[in-house]
């Protein structure tokens, strides 16, 4: 057992706060002037924001009338406290919304669990996500275990956004790995075809791909192969995701020294063992920052599905503040939706930063 080294905090020379402030922000007359002007400006903005968002705001539900007559002009969070269910669950039947809530919580738990290093193996991670996704689907869709059936047309809000994001990731990631492997196939015609496919799809706007899959595909494919519009959009989106992610993975592979694969070959490891235990784990480590980035973008761009007529969290927010009695509170609703996105995306990128630090230690 290695001895435990107590963590000794580095002893910083005790510096007077005033000296520090002076040397950094008030060193010269001009510095001082700039500092004062900026500080005043920031303080003013902060004060107005706090006033609007908190001090003068109306929080109580069903207080639309109060908001309208409010002379201070504070935020009307009443729109959120009255209509938040639409934002989270869309048109999902009111009595069944607890299912939607639990489903979302399950997916969030899955996301949190997959942050634990214990789950980082080629077997556990896919298993965790598939299981979580299955629970999510059964809860949302129902029709089993005495749960009333709720078809995809009635899904909406945050739960739809999470569903699309999870489905795209779950479908897109294995596809990306396959694409990346084909892209570096030793057979030139396979590698070149794959490169062409990836480049073509990457050069198309996501929106046009979604349109193609949602609206054009039913005319092309035979009846019975088309599936629900939602799933067509998800497949199209997953394809788009896979093409970007495949290039990210390939970049991670190229950063590996050739000796890694040679050593694995020399030990008699077959192709899939080399890929699964030597190449991919290291490629993903190398490609972690752009991979997290890709997830962030994918989460944010789920809101494009509104254009094809789905009520994701963005569209639901707009609908929630779109009625005649709430249309003055559009800004508050967007702030709320923005906050939801922020919570998800910010935690994702903080987690990415943590991973980078963690993997950078002792393992390279």
């Amino acid at each position: 057992m290695p001895a435990h080294h107590p963590v000794i905090p580095a002893e910083l020379p005790r510096q007077n706060v005033l000296t520090w402030l002076r040397s950094r922000y008030f060193a010269t007359r001009r510095d001082a002037a700039v500092t004062i002007v900026f500080a005043a400006f920031v303080a003013w903005i902060l004060w107005s924001l706090i006033g609007w968002a908190l001090l003068d705001a109306t929080f109580a539900p069903n207080a639309g009338e109060v908001c309208r007559e409010d002379l201070h002009g504070g935020a009307c969070w009443s729109v959120v406290s009255t209509r938040w269910r639409i934002v989270l669950f869309g048109l999902y039947p009111f009595e069944e919304q607890w299912r939607s809530a639990i489903a979302c919580i399950v997916m969030v738990i899955v996301a949190v669990l997959s942050c634990l290093p214990w789950f980082w193996s080629a077997k556990r991670l896919p298993l965790l996500w598939t299981a979580g996704f299955a629970i999510f689907y059964v809860l949302m869709r129902g029709g089993f275990f005495g749960l009333a059936e709720v078809t995809e047309q009635n899904w909406g809000g945050l739960s739809l956004t999470i569903f699309i994001f999870a489905a795209v990731s779950l479908l897109g990631m294995p596809l990306a790995i396959v694409f990346a492997l084909l892209r570096r196939s030793s057979l030139p015609w396979i590698a070149r075809t794959m490169a062409l496919v990836i480049d073509v799809i990457r050069s198309l706007p996501l929106l046009s791909i979604m349109f193609t899959f949602a609206i054009v595909l039913p005319f092309v494919l035979p009846e019975g192969l088309t599936g629900d519009k939602l799933y067509r959009v998800i497949v199209g989106y997953a394809l788009f995701f896979a093409c970007y992610q495949a290039e990210i993975i390939r970049g991670g592979m190229q950063a590996l020294p050739a000796g890694q694969e040679e050593a694995a070959k020399a030990l008699g490891l077959g192709y899939w063992h080399r890929i699964g235990y030597i190449i991919l784990p290291q490629a993903f480590r190398n490609a972690l920052p752009p991979t997290i980035n890709q997830f962030v973008i994918t989460f944010k761009e789920t809101s494009l599905v509104t254009i094809i007529g789905f009520f994701d969290v963005m569209a639901s927010g707009r609908a929630a503040s779109g009625t005649a009695d709430w249309n003055f509170a559009v800004v508050e609703m967007y702030v709320f939706v923005g906050l939801i996105f922020f919570v998800f995306v910010f935690s994702l990128s903080r987690y990415g930063a943590y991973l980078e630090r963690r993997l950078g230690v002792g393992r390279r």
């Binding site: 020294p257 000796g259 050593a263 694995a264 020399a266 030990l267 290291q282």
Partner: protein, 246 residues
């Protein structure tokens, strides 16, 4: 007469239009220790890498323990399991601990259960004198320790032949002997060894035969005493004087 461990006949290898190995004929008996030397770029690495198909030869025959190296993937995997290789740059897997490095291939390619594989691995790690490093990552070890792990990793597959490609060239001078000691021990136990190295002391001590290569050809081969004390070929003499020179 038993079959040789390695038999190479009329073997040629090209990189594009560059003729890297020219008409190589070589037989290595079971238990024999062969040292290959020669100037940089003479094809030593290419030759040794052809033996386990890290490079593909273009014509001629290579047989390892009687199994021919051809496009039969099963033969290739079989030969790779029989011939362990140690590289100049160690090529340990940086994302796995030392112990995981040593057990991965036995578990996956030899289907040995994990407990037994770990036991074997600890035995070999003890033999290369670093059992206490088993749970560290390669990045935490010195070069000499890493190379000893690489040797242990290869031995865990219980190979009949060991191929070394300049195993001490990337090491700081003070670490060379700890690796050579392990290799000498291996030789004394009767392992068949093919070793590209310029460590002439090692060659004198353990080699049955020293082979000199230049420009993709085997120029001269002889037992070490004869090779070092009475080289026949002019190029061998020049080469030896250069090595001894520094």
């Amino acid at each position: 007469m038993t079959e040789p461990a390695i038999r190479i006949a009329s073997m040629h290898k090209y990189y594009g239009s560059f003729h890297a190995l020219k008409d190589i004929n070589l037989e290595i008996a079971k238990g024999e220790k062969v040292v290959i030397c020669g100037p940089s770029g003479s094809g030593k690495s290419t030759l040794i890498r052809c033996i386990n198909r890290l490079e593909e030869h273009h014509s001629g025959v290579i047989e390892v323990n009687g199994t021919p190296l051809d496009d039969n993937v099963d033969n290739i995997d079989e030969i790779r399991r029989e011939a362990g290789m140690v590289f100049q740059n160690f090529n340990l897997f940086p994302h796995m601990t030392v112990l995981e490095n040593c057990t991965l291939a036995p578990v996956l390619a030899r289907k040995i259960d994990r407990g037994a594989a770990e036991e074997t691995a600890m035995r070999y790690l003890a033999r290369v004198k670093i059992p206490e490093q088993a749970h560290k990552y390669p990045g935490e070890l010195s070069g000499g320790q890493q190379q000893r792990v690489a040797i242990a990793r290869a031995l865990c597959m219980a190979p009949e032949i060991m191929l070394f490609d300049e195993p001490t060239s990337a090491l700081d001078p003070e670490m060379i002997s700890e690796v050579l000691d392990v290799m000498v021990g291996l030789a004394e136990e009767g392992m068949t060894m093919v070793c590209v190295t310029h460590e002439m002391g090692f060659a004198r001590q353990v080699a049955d035969r020293v082979i000199f290569m230049a420009e993709g050809q085997i120029i001269e081969q002889a037992p070490p005493d004869q090779f070092f004390d009475n080289p026949q070929n002019e190029r061998t003499r020049t080469f030896l004087s250069q090595i001894v020179g520094h």
